[in-house]
Symmetry: C2
Subunit: 302 residues, 2 copies
């Protein structure tokens, strides 16, 4: 290891004081992984419900908690915002005056454009000794929510996308620290522009969710009455929290509406081929989908 | 039990000789369930690959097998066509001269309109002592195929739709026997018109399949490169056999193309709401989908 390259996180080289704001499934899993791996000296939780935070302590995800960020933020080396997209935008601004110089702020929000556009000018434009912000998004989770569903190995093998911008110091401590964090938790780390992130996530995450909702809404009440297990399996994500998902969809509205129209065009195209009784065309569209999906399955196999 | 009501199938009141044509996942599971429950005196398999049929015997799904339907059909009390939609249409016609009077022919095809339209006139128009046909469709299975995936409990709790038509004798032995068969295997039995069946199945089964293929085809290669587990889970059915599915989609082309256009309209509607930044509209569409799907989940809970 070259002398100027930072150590990977380990019990011998742990993070200092980590503050997780909004520890639910993602933040709680982060806390569990850090504490179980002895990768941080202290993990504090901040939230608005003491009961949830107490549960976080009981589950081993947190060392302690407070209802007020101001109690712990000034001593934090790393703050992770694990709340919703709109709240992350607000909290990033509110935390700025509380953080010590060179502290690192990151987040796990599902949409990065609006978050980075709001947070980065605040953090990078300021004095050089100010705290730094690096956007992040671990692609992990499920339709389950809340700290009770947290797992220490949630990020193992998952992809975590970091979204540095031209304002981010590519050789700075902030980016290096957030990268070391996710690597230590077993994630693969990819860096991309926030706008590219949002476009790709619209396609692979927000579109499947929206499409499942459209599918459920497209079928008749009569059909609902005979729907079986297969239909439920295909539309599982449509049972996610509509408010949470509406927030994500709206924060990524431009890319997502484009993807939804691409889906509509594909559906019309297949309907046209069926209408013509075009066996070759129909088989071709289904074969192409199978080929692409199977390739993906092979690539993401554990 | 009233004296004129037939006994449920049981080891004391088993079927006679059952012939399963094309024993794969569905036909094999049927054979396993019949033999394990001692619900038939003999179960013969007919197919075109001896190796598969030998495996069926080894797994306990079949007592014996032949490559030629003519060897066993003349002695069969019940013949089950478990091949693909187009083949079922052809085989139903071919079997007619082979079957003994009052024998019962049924099938498990995923589309019922074309099958019933072809088979019923042949079977019901004939002399009164001829074999009878009753269309059926057990809604069970998975993306797995082949007799190796067969399970004796595959139909337990599943819905099996029977599609008698005005040509079917509602009090006849054929319908009663097929109904008793599926009830004995733990399925819930529902009767409906073949055309209604196809319309509903287009919505709950063929549309989700086609939509998953459209989703995979709608996204860019770049997005494929970052697609994670969640995307694979949502699009699982798109990995089904494209030839098998093209056959199903084409056999039900009218209903399915209508359903695909309904999906396209829903996608455009959500895209429009996003384009307007209409938070209430977006939340409303997602909330409606969640509500409908959750209701379904509760209803189909085991």
């Amino acid at each position: 290891m070259s002398p100027d390259r930072p150590h990977p996180l380990s019990p011998e080289h742990p993070l200092g004081h980590v503050v997780i704001i909004g520890p639910g499934l993602i933040g709680g899993s982060l806390g569990l992984a850090l504490r179980r791996g002895r990768l941080a000296r202290r993990v504090s939780g901040v939230g608005h419900r003491a009961q949830t935070l107490e549960e976080g302590c009981r589950l081993g995800a947190l060392d302690d908690f407070t209802l007020h960020a101001g109690d712990v933020a000034p001593r934090a080396d790393l703050v992770v915002l694990a709340t919703g997209v709109n709240l992350i935008v607000r909290q990033a601004a509110e935390l700025l005056p509380l953080l010590k110089p060179h502290a690192v702020l990151t987040d796990v929000g599902s949409v990065k454009g609006v978050i980075c556009a709001a947070a980065e000018p605040l953090y990078s434009a300021a004095e050089p000794a100010r705290a730094v912000f690096v956007g992040g998004h671990p692609l992990a989770g499920s339709e389950k929510r809340g700290i009770a569903a947290a797992r220490h190995d949630l990020f193992h093998g998952a992809l975590c996308i970091l979204t540095p911008t031209p304002r981010t110091d590519p050789a700075g401590q902030g980016l290096a620290l957030v990268r070391r964090l996710w690597l230590a938790l077993g994630a693969r780390v990819l860096e991309m522009d926030p706008v590219v992130h949002d476009r790709l996530l619209a396609e692979i995450s927000h579109l499947p969710h929206a499409a499942a909702a459209c599918l459920v809404n497209a079928i008749s009440d009569e059909a609902h009455a005979v729907a079986a297990r297969g239909f439920l399996d295909t539309t599982r994500v449509a049972s996610g929290d509509p408010h949470l998902w509406a927030e994500i969809c709206l924060a990524n509205r431009e890319s997502l509406s484009r993807s939804l129209r691409a889906l509509a065009r594909q559906a019309e195209r297949l309907a046209d081929a069926l209408g013509r009784g075009d066996a070759e065309g129909v088989t071709g569209l289904l074969a192409r989908a199978k080929e692409r999906r199977d390739a993906l399955e092979r690539r993401t196999a554990p």
